[in-house]
């Protein structure tokens, strides 16, 4: 029997979502300061309205949803999924007020794309936006990369035992430290350290390439945020092509590769276990699939006779392939070039890498290297079992921070997520094709949205149908949260409508 959630359940969920929205208000203070510092008064007002709306929401739920109970597992799942949607709705306020969006839906699309580190955007006239709005765009992708729940945990959930439940529900399973709030802070420590180092290198490179010091600094910070978070946003419409610089491309490439690795791997290396880099299943999986991608890419380029020199192959082929694989979306070519210049083979090599994606518990999306490793080892074990005597016992293990012996539950879990990704990729592609887009373009953009990559072959634009925008928002959201929380939210909605009785989920769990 499905039980209807009680008022108490709703209050617990509402209270936690309120905290997340307060976190969004706190992040908005940074672009507000940038707007004020750059005398962008109109943009400053946009952020003030956004901040006050977030604070008002938080205060309303604090008044209405006060309850002396902690979060349960189910609440955690609902808070994570509904929290992202609510954060999208409130975060889109400054975007919409900026006047660069045709509709609130377009603003929400960009917000979800930012939070989920996708990088697709519908913003119009990007080359004329304020520094404040650019700071907000990049900051939200940087914050989204760590996980907006992680932000709320870091500052606003101190001391609650239910914190771990919403942390896990955001698609992060790693606990670097025994305490989840200290884990969230460790994630921030890693990210902020890289922010200063990476931005410093980019600033030097941009200044050397002729950018003025002040704008160079801002661009360096934004490019770092876009690359590290694997979001792929850039302050100019030409993205990385704007800079015409090998060094800027090289540094961002290193940043997004590092950013795409598992936070647990980062922490392990920080703690002195450098051998983990070579032994980790995700690093091995990434290296293998990149090599396959590069091989196919070089076949494609060789056939077409385009990008024939090594620097050209590195800057146009390898860069965009790895950008796709890490689900970043930084690009050194025009969107239409994937379709018109890359050719069939090179384009599909990029699509293949995008679909696989980055590491689990990182800033990236896609199937994830960990799951590819699990599935590969499982298949290898099955083959070994077939060719071995009946009495032999075949077991497979992967190494991810520690040795993990594969069992049915692990393999089923990995397969379930991979199949879920394939379903949303397929549905997005079908919808695009039904709307009359070229199939390869529809598939490319659907996989890009679902894997949170952000490269586009030209479909994503303010003129795309509203239904497709909505589905892409769903794809980005579901892909980032890795489905479980999304299914839980759907189940919760069903229980609200069709559930029986008024028993609390909290009590039922006990």
């Amino acid at each position: 029997m499905i039980l209807r959630p009680s008022r108490e359940d709703l209050k617990i969920i509402g209270w936690a979502i309120g905290r997340i929205i307060l976190g969004i208000a706190l992040i908005m203070l940074i672009p507000l300061v940038v707007s004020l510092a750059c005398s962008e008064w109109s943009a400053a007002l946009d952020f003030l309205v956004g901040i006050l709306a977030c604070v008002a929401f938080w205060l309303i739920v604090e008044n209405v949803c006060y309850v002396k109970k902690d979060l349960g597992w189910f609440h955690g799942l609902i808070v994570a999924s509904a929290g992202w949607i609510t954060a999208m709705l409130f975060g889109a306020i400054p975007h919409f007020l900026s006047g660069h969006f045709r509709s609130y839906l377009d603003a929400c699309f960009d917000l979800m794309s930012g939070y989920t580190t996708t990088g697709l955007y519908l913003l119009q006239d990007l080359d004329h936006v304020s520094h404040g709005l650019n700071m907000w765009r990049h900051l939200l992708t940087y914050a989204g990369g760590q996980g907006i729940i992680v932000i709320a945990l870091t500052f606003l959930f101190a001391g609650t035992a239910g914190a771990f439940k919403i942390y896990v529900s955001e698609g992060k399973e790693e606990r670097l430290l025994p305490n989840v709030i200290r884990t969230a802070r460790a994630i921030w420590m890693v990210s902020l350290t890289y922010l200063w180092v990476g931005s410093g290198f980019l600033w030097i490179a941009l200044t050397k390439e002729g950018m003025p010091l002040g704008r160079g600094f801002l661009h360096a910070v934004w490019l770092f945020m876009g690359s590290w978070s694997t979001g792929g946003f850039a302050p100019q419409a030409l993205n990385l092509l704007y800079y015409h610089s090998f060094w800027v491309e090289f540094i961002t490439l290193i940043i997004f590769v590092i950013g795409s690795f598992n936070f647990a791997l980062h922490y392990s290396v920080w703690m002195g276990d450098r051998k983990e880099i070579l032994r980790n299943v995700e690093v091995r999986s990434f290296a293998t699939t990149v090599l396959i991608g590069v091989f196919v890419l070089s076949l494609g380029f060789g056939k077409l006779g385009i990008y024939t020199t090594l620097p050209e192959f590195f800057r146009k082929g390898f860069y965009n392939l790895v950008s796709g694989h890490t689900t970043t979306g930084n690009s050194t070519i025009y969107s239409v070039s994937f379709l018109r210049e890359f050719g069939w083979l090179a384009m599909w090599a990029t699509v293949f890498c995008m679909a696989i994606g980055a590491s689990a518990c990182s800033t990236g999306g896609g199937f994830k290297g960990l799951r590819m490793g699990v599935i590969f080892r499982y298949l290898r074990g099955e083959v070994r079992r077939l060719v071995s005597p009946d009495a032999s016992v075949i077991t497979e293990k992967i190494h991810h921070i520690r040795d993990i012996w594969l069992n049915d539950a692990i393999v089923k879990g990995a397969m379930f997520i991979v199949i879920s990704y394939m379903v949303i990729y397929s549905l997005g592609a079908m919808l695009g094709i039904i709307y009359g887009y070229e199939p390869s373009v529809a598939i490319f953009d659907a996989i890009s949205a679902g894997s949170n990559t952000g490269l586009s072959a030209g479909l994503t634009s303010p003129l795309m149908p509203a239904l497709l925008k909505l589905f892409y928002i769903f794809e980005m959201w579901a892909g980032r949260l890795e489905f479980i929380s999304v299914f839980a939210l759907l189940g919760f909605a069903g229980a609200l409508v069709r559930g029986k009785g008024k028993r609390s989920i909290l009590r039922r769990r006990r």
Partner: protein
């Protein structure tokens, strides 16, 4: 039962194919038009687009192979930065309506799509003619550039660019101010009052809970 399912699928597909009309979907067409409107407003034919007449960026990007190595003329706003590299410099020129007419910040209308712009490799002397680059507070200089288009420039690591042979400033850029929005100020004031009231309520509630405990 099976018939009902098939009928339902057909109905859904029929609705989907009509949806583009309902939500204003306009497919992007890259090539095949008989006439093309140049930034200056004049109507030109496909033959006139190359070698001497203006080419719009959208047209180039849709037909890169066709224009590769050809001399073209584009007209657009210089945006962002001038990045000097020795005796040369990189500029970015955008020819979408936001650049050629009014940007959204200046009060321009939505036109649907904005272009990405194109990188132009110009001599240092030519770059010095540019006084204003477009951005949030400025309308950039409108320039006319004639040069060789490269779909994958061997000199610049495969970049898609134009090597300018001639740069002419058609109209100078200028700084513009943003109109102050009293509506937004009113929203700030109303939301501030609401927040103060809600904060007071929350404070009272906390006091009450502490008293009860």
């Amino acid at each position: 039962m099976r018939g009902v399912v098939v009928a339902a699928i057909i109905t859904v597909l029929a609705i989907f194919t009509q949806v583009p009309l309902l939500v204003g979907y306009v497919p992007v067409i890259w090539a095949g038009e008989e006439e093309w409107e140049a930034p200056s407003g004049e109507k030109v034919t496909i033959d006139q687009l190359i070698n001497g007449k203006h080419v719009v960026e959208e047209r180039i990007m849709g037909n890169m192979e066709y224009y590769d190595g050809k001399m073209i003329t584009i007209e657009g706003e210089v945006i962002g930065d001038i990045m000097y590299r020795g005796d040369y410099a990189w500029i970015t020129v955008n020819d979408d309506p936001y650049s050629l007419r009014k940007s959204l910040e200046e009060g321009g209308d939505f036109v649907g799509l904005s272009n990405q712009g194109i990188g132009v490799w110009v001599s240092r002397e030519a770059a010095k003619k540019i006084m204003t680059c477009g951005g949030y507070k400025n309308k950039g200089d409108i320039v006319s550039i004639t040069g060789e288009f490269h779909r994958a420039c061997h000199e610049h690591g495969g970049d898609t660019d134009i090597h300018a042979a001639n740069l002419e400033v058609i109209s100078s850029g200028y700084a513009f101010s943003h109109p102050f929005s009293y509506g937004k100020l009113l929203a700030v004031m109303v939301l501030s009052l609401i927040c103060i009231y809600l904060y007071y309520l929350r404070h009272q509630k906390i006091k009450k809970v502490i008293r009860e405990e």
